[in-house]
Symmetry: C2
Amino acid sequence: MTAQLLNGKEIAKDYRAGLQAEVEKLKENGMTPNLTVVIVGDDGASLSYVRSKNKAAEKIGMTSDIVHLDGDTSEADLLAEIERLNNDEKVHGILVQVPLPKQISEDKVLEAIAPEKDVDGFSPVNIGRLYTGQRTFKPCTPLGIMELLKHTGSLEGKTVAVIGRSHIVGQPVAKLLTNENATVTLMHSRTKNMVDQLKNFDVVVSAVGKPGLITGDDLKEGAIVIDVGNTVVDGKLVGDVDFESAEKVASWITPVPGGVGPLTITMVLNNTLLAAKWNNGLE
Amino acid sequence: MTAQLLNGKEIAKDYRAGLQAEVEKLKENGMTPNLTVVIVGDDGASLSYVRSKNKAAEKIGMTSDIVHLDGDTSEADLLAEIERLNNDEKVHGILVQVPLPKQISEDKVLEAIAPEKDVDGFSPVNIGRLYTGQRTFKPCTPLGIMELLKHTGSLEGKTVAVIGRSHIVGQPVAKLLTNENATVTLMHSRTKNMVDQLKNFDVVVSAVGKPGLITGDDLKEGAIVIDVGNTVVDGKLVGDVDFESAEKVASWITPVPGGVGPLTITMVLNNTLLAAKWNNGLE
């Protein structure tokens, strides 16, 4: 078997075209969705990530602002800035780029973003709503993974190994998979003989950050493989899965780069559109 | 093998003795923990459950009040009552007995309880804090299950099947087990060949409500079995597990009744004590 490619770039492109059409409709009715991204300090990787979100939003017709604060901004000043954005009716989605400088509590800042503008879905109240099945912004990487998996068919009754228990990826994607009636095993660094067990699973989602962790020999014939790992090795982005051997065994597989990555930013845009609609009583 | 009994009654008794000692210390310093339980309507089972929480709190030296509202109370009136309790400094823990009458949104009411008094741990912000690893009130039945499991040794590296994906039991106990470095598989009604797979697990936590779902034949030799099922059959409370056959295979097993049940109320008291301490800047 040679796996079919889950081409994140292509899937994201189609998805964004759908979002763009919806943005245009909203604009005809006088409302322009706005995404505002807050960044504190001058970390190069963070800045480039913020700019790419900004560009992506503008490309589909949204407005997007960057609030760039000095690296020595106090927690109180950042909280005041967030309060201002919470109260600004033109702002629909607020992202705060992490990590934040040491003098600022990330937990406090995430709790300060108005839940109805928290398009990352990282504020506790939105995470809680995810687990109680209420309407909320689902976190973007897990949502992107689910969009990729839609292209492989129904998840009902499938067994899924999710590797990595972070609250950004592993935990919430386990929840979204369970919602789709998959049976999920959440694995992590303390799981015994982890890789040896993967042969029992229909789907493997790896979000670890260890290049070469999983090879084709570890997979069930026909498995679906979602590689969320992104580690820079010799200047190149690589995932957790040895693509060359895995694609010979899997039925579907994501490349790195060009797999999950493009979907994550797409889902930021998706959530910003939802925020604009919900905050205006649409849907 | 004949399993050792995880005697919830005994374990709860010891645990409550520890709580009582702490309550006495607080009282010497002029602070008496208070648990206030709100009930709407006259459902017999709910009333008896509320009274048992009330009694249990008083028995360990706390004060406990019952706010009993008419079955036709409006949502606005209930929300006003909760607001009053949120602002009453003498009240440390607030429980609202569910289910609520049809005219009242449970989601709205749970969100209205001040997070620092939500000793059930059901408000979205507290659920969110559970998943992000912040300080919070952990939900009582999952916490009780973890207390029982402590008596069986370390969970590190163990495989656990949690059956049932509710946000009251299955989901949060899966999270607490993962925190203890167990590897958890969350099973549910759509899991294929569920019972046949249980032989692969070191620990089985069943929270379904189907008497006889699991028998000894389904279990791994030496498994630890936590039965959260409680179904009334011919006037008797029964769990999901056929105790007689299971105790011949398991290493540890909870009875029903007298297993998880007594621990749930104990953890309500535990959380009320924590609320009293935290709200007064202790710990």
